[in-house]
Subunit: 351 residues, 2 copies
């Protein structure tokens, strides 16, 4: 395994690709046509085509799991600490596929490709807006399966993802039980979105309903706050004479995020996550599961993961847990994931 | 001490009273005239006038600490578990005074009396609205001190309060160090509102700024959610086929609260709490302090209390801590306070 310095200096260049699908039948009964979403690959598919790991993303994420698109990119993909040559999800060994979900919120980011409320409805030539049909995570997973089929992959070695990515990973294992060997769910709850989180997600949406532009900034302030730890800002702002400075910092961050985000997609994707619930089909899951919650999570609280693990175990699923014990909140599943690198690497490589 | 059944069946009738003050000079430099606020008393002031305990309230609370106004009242005061004859704050022994803060949000509740944004400005004959001057907790504390003076009380045996009440209790001890012997702060942070909480309070205000009526309901949904535990709703709603039922339950609660609340007062009181910061004068505190945080608090997070206790100790203040270990969140400081009854009783009675 690489040391910290090698992690920091490693740069892998990766290319964004686009997958197109003529038709996708949705759970709600509608059919989407001309479906497109982005993906990117790391490492090589082996000759037996059994070393693929699919990585769906978190709520405001994208397919950009690791590496950089351009040498000049300031930041690598969100799980660059975890995915790359010699890293826990070792691209010398595994063929890693990052995917954009349907209805991705970052429609203003040129590196994101998605079919969602901001797309043109082929039937009308107009932007869907709130005419876009109801989307469930199962729909995104079915679209991803078409991509996996097109790559000639029958069985995924694993589906791994943080937060909303962990929901998609479990959905994969429940919908296609024979095609997923392992699941790694990071900063996830369990088999369904808990009522308290449903209510929090609703609070994210409220300002957007009042004002699509300004309200989206407000919403992304709350998203940012909920994803951070209650410790966030203490070192930086508590010593300020003007403690209100935190409000400006939060607003600047949210403003930058809102500039590339679509309010309709935000509202719809929040609803998609609220509706996540695979309890009725979870007993179909055959995959072995590694669950990696964060003890300081103030969004998907540790209680949710504890109950989720309990429910999985009570269904007889093979689940082991590894807790992130740092104090950075939900985002530790991205930025402080290194303590889980060993357990994830071992989980993926054991027979 | 009483047992659970005796607690539940005890009913003390209490009368709401009104204190009037001609002038109150505020920290901001303005002077309020015709200041009125409510208070209520339990027990008897002894002849040496040294057995008084003042109890300021939490953000959406009032002076109604214990007992009932009328036999027909469905609920007793918020700390009825703690305050009454034979209880931890024993009204056979102490003379307890509950007070309404200035700018109390429950202006539509006939049992609440407060001077705030919803009051008539004597200078104009119009409702203050956003002309109401900036209010700090120090101002409420100075008004309370005038009440204490009027009752002929020189030294308070203790100031005790939950949440925003704990902030007022510490403010009392910092502003009037020779007039407060003990402080009991329940579900409080420390000497100042932490940056993260400042940002959360700002989120409470956002919907109110969009729409004074509907937005106040939204705001009180978030207040309710933040004050509850992440476990709230699980038992009740997770098993529902329609998990979204939690949204209606939360809305019904918030709607009832909004019906008696004033949006301007809400916005201003949130700002008052954001600005709470007695760090510069905390070294003046002479009172002995008992701090009672809640381990599962998802509003004033345990980290805030840990840091607060650390800061108090580093100033040489005499502070002991007792943690509520139940899993009900911030509200455990009201509804699950009984485990702290023994420690509070002992703390108050030791010489």
């Amino acid at each position: 395994m690489l040391n910290q310095t090698e992690y920091a200096t490693s740069t892998v260049l990766v290319q964004k690709r686009v997958f197109a699908l003529n038709n996708l039948e949705l759970e709600c009964g509608s059919t989407l046509t001309d479906v497109r979403f982005g993906f990117e690959c790391y490492g090589q598919l082996n000759s037996s085509r059994d070393n693929a790991i699919l990585i769906p993303h978190y709520f405001t994420g994208s397919s950009h799991v690791a590496g950089r698109y351009r040498e000049s990119d300031l930041e690598p993909g969100y799980w660059d600490l975890l995915v790359g040559p010699g890293k826990a999800i070792d691209t010398n060994r595994y063929f890693v596929i990052g995917v954009d979900c349907l209805g991705n919120v970052n429609t203003g980011n040129p590196d994101v490709v998605t079919t969602g409320p901001k797309s043109i409805n082929p039937a009308t030539g107009q932007i869907y807006g709130d005419e876009f049909p109801e989307l469930l995570l199962t729909d995104s997973v079915r679209a991803q399966c078409a991509l996996v089929d097109s790559l000639g992959i029958e069985t995924l070695h694993a589906v791994c993802g943080p937060s909303m990515g962990s929901m998609q990973a479990l959905t994969w294992a429940a919908v296609f039980p024979d095609r997923v060997k392992k699941v790694v769910g990071v900063i996830g709850g369990g088999l369904a979105t808990e009522p308290y989180l449903i209510a929090l997600l609703e609070q994210w949406c409220i300002p957007v309903r009042y004002d699509r532009t300004e309200g989206l900034i407000n919403a992304l302030e709350l998203v940012t706050l909920n994803a951070l730890s209650p410790n966030w800002g203490y070192e930086m702002f508590a010593k300020y004479k003007d403690k209100m400075a935190i409000l400006r910092a939060l607003r600047d961050t949210a403003k930058a995020r809102a500039a590339v985000s679509d309010p309709e997609s935000f509202l719809r994707l929040a609803r998609t996550v609220q509706k996540y619930d695979i309890r009725a089909k979870a007993d179909r899951i055959k995959a072995e599961i590694l669950w990696v919650p964060s003890r300081s999570d103030a969004l998907i609280f540790p209680q949710f993961a504890e109950r989720g693990i309990g429910e999985m175990k009570s269904l007889g699923l093979r689940v082991t847990e590894f807790w992130l014990e740092s104090d950075g909140g939900h985002l530790d599943g991205l930025h402080a994931i290194l303590p889980a690198a060993g357990p994830i690497s071992q989980f993926l490589s054991k027979p």
